[in-house]
């Protein structure tokens, strides 16, 4: 039985409490505003467009996920927001001001951890604070608080290579949050982790987000992850990169793994699959590969 055969509610139907929550979110000030963003490269006569006409508004303390097929430019989009790449058109406003280059107001967590291997865990978290001009002792106190929040106080004097992947990523989150960024940009932060560590990190990130005044822009290619974490999901399409849909996540908060089989979750997931894999659910989606049968008759496995 395929997912399409189950009677699912419309993913656009929001429960009253969910709709009310979105009402409240929309009354909050806009932190990040992207208007008509465009990125292309190459010479004038052979221009390659990564994406064009991307617009979105993110309100304070929203959790936005960006998903899309590979090549849709989602990584480029957040690199531009972070100031690590330049756009070729459009505007990005942070708190109503334009941005130029990377800065501590836009914290970033990378898939590859990017902890400084020569610094201990504590010194890694202190790095941004010191760049902001804090004194050593205040930076140290603040760094300890952040390590407490991510539960790594015991490891403050360890070096990054002594930690597991999940722990490294928690240090990276603490390091980014210590700078009190207006927006925390996360580029597939849990993609390199094994499945159950990833689950833990997701639950964990939600807890931190609830307690810390931070807005999150989260890139992923994992549809479950996007559905589980987000308030809204920006679905991007490829060739050329564009916004396909900006979906209000109908799953009520607080979230838990139990919701993975709730009707809202399945409806949302179904919609995301439709957008990302257009042939999803069709009968002929199994690609036939030309392999000669090399087993005896009657020896079928399926």
């Amino acid at each position: 039985m395929s997912l399409a055969e189950i009677k699912l509610p419309d993913y656009r139907e929001l429960a009253p409490e969910v709709a009310e929550r979105f009402q409240k979110i929309r009354q909050r000030p806009v932190i990040l505003s992207v208007q008509g963003l465009e990125k292309s490269f190459g010479p004038v006569n052979d221009r390659h467009c990564v994406f064009s006409d991307i617009s979105l508004d993110i309100h304070r303390r929203e959790f936005i996920c960006v998903i899309g097929a590979s090549g849709c430019g989602k990584s480029t989009l957040i690199r531009i927001v972070a100031g690590l790449d330049d756009s070729t058109g459009g505007a990005i406003m942070l708190d109503g001001h334009g941005i130029s280059g990377p800065g501590p107001d836009r914290g970033m967590v990378f898939q590859g951890y990017t902890l400084f291997p020569w610094l201990t865990v504590k010194r890694n978290v202190m790095f941004g604070l010191e760049m902001g001009g804090g004194s050593h002792s205040t930076c140290e106190t603040e760094a300890r608080q952040w390590l407490e929040i991510v539960g790594l106080s015991k490891f403050e004097d360890s070096y990054p290579h002594e930690l597991s992947g999940g722990m490294k990523q928690r240090v990276a989150i603490a390091r980014a949050l210590a700078n009190k960024p207006r927006i925390l940009i996360m580029d597939e932060p849990f993609a390199a982790l094994d499945a159950q560590t990833r689950c833990q990190m997701q639950a964990y990130l939600l807890q931190v987000w609830k307690k810390v005044d931070v807005t999150i822009l989260f890139i992923t290619h994992d549809l479950d992850e996007a559905a589980y974490l987000s308030d809204r999901i920006l679905v991007m399409g490829a060739n050329p990169g564009r916004v396909m849909e900006f979906i209000d996540n109908p799953i009520p908060r607080p979230r838990s793994v139990r919701q993975f089989i709730s009707p809202e979750f399945l409806a949302l997931k179904n919609r995301l699959e439709e957008l990302i894999h257009p042939s999803f659910g069709a009968e002929d989606d199994e690609e036939k590969i030309p392999v000669i049968k090399m087993t005896e008759a009657g020896d079928e496995v399926e």
Binding site: F116, F155, S158, E162, Q196, T197
Partner: protein
Amino acid sequence: MPENRPAANRDWLGLKMELPPRRRLLLTILSFVIPLAVWAIVSYVPFIWHPLVMITDPGDVDYFTQGDEFPYADFLEQNKEMAAQHMKPAQGYRVNPVYLPPPHAVARAFFTAFKTPPRLPNEPWLHQSLGHSISTIFWGFFLSSIIGVPLGVLCGTYRFFSRLQEPFIEFFRYLPAPAFGALCVAILGIDDGPKIAIIFIGTFFQQVLVIGNTVRKVDPALIEAAQTLGARGWKLVRRVIIPASICDIYTDMRILLGWAWTYLIVAEVVGTMSGITFFINQQARYRNFDNVYAAIAMIGIIGFFSDLFLGWLGTVLFPWKRRNRSRSKSKVPTTGQLWPEKVEPVMTQALVHKKPELESNVAG
């Protein structure tokens, strides 16, 4: 049960397989013992090589004199002639040429060379010669480094400096340093100046390029991470680019120091001959080849042990490179609670059901 032992214990030639420590040590010792054994066999087994005969009694051979060496073939031929003429044959024993002293003579020379006073009062002792060489290397390498390392870091960091400097340096490094010998003497005189200059020329240009390349290899993601944390300009260089590459720069410096040693002998011939080269030449002139070998071996030993020392110093200076630290101290628990207790119980429950072992592959 030999089949239950790990493969490395059964197989000396396992591909890419690390050998057990005892075998490693054994092979390390053998790597020195084998060449020494070859040398000892050639020196002490009379019928292997030994192309000359040391004459103990010239007999009736006209041109043989006692204490001289003659080719073995001549010795046989002369004695055959003597036998035919019923005259007294020459006596002697087979020896190797004087330029191949036996191991024990060289070993003895290691000690006697230091204790033997120089033949002329104004000649240096061996330890003075060695000291002179080391100071020449030091100054050449030091002067090269205080300019070359910062320049290399600049070239590696900023494309501006890379484009401005590297093409010329790339050209210049093909010019052999000894070719500048005469020029250096003309400019800097005949004492230590030109020698230091040649080591400088031999080191500097390689140094800028090698260090520039090392700095360029710094993971760009680290630089980007630092930028999103607010680092920029000089702070970014000082707090990220230099620490990220310092360990590899250190390794480069160790290799470059080895190159500096290879320029030493050429440098010391320039102007008035000095240092260990002077000692080697002088001893060769006196035909004390055991001392020559001892002096050459000393250069190797000084180089080898200074590199071992620098390697050890590296592990002190760069503690984050000590990969096994956590294993010895076992600071990271491999089981038990790794997660802050704030996580919802339902979450942990569900996870435990999915897969019993929690995040246990730490420090992997």
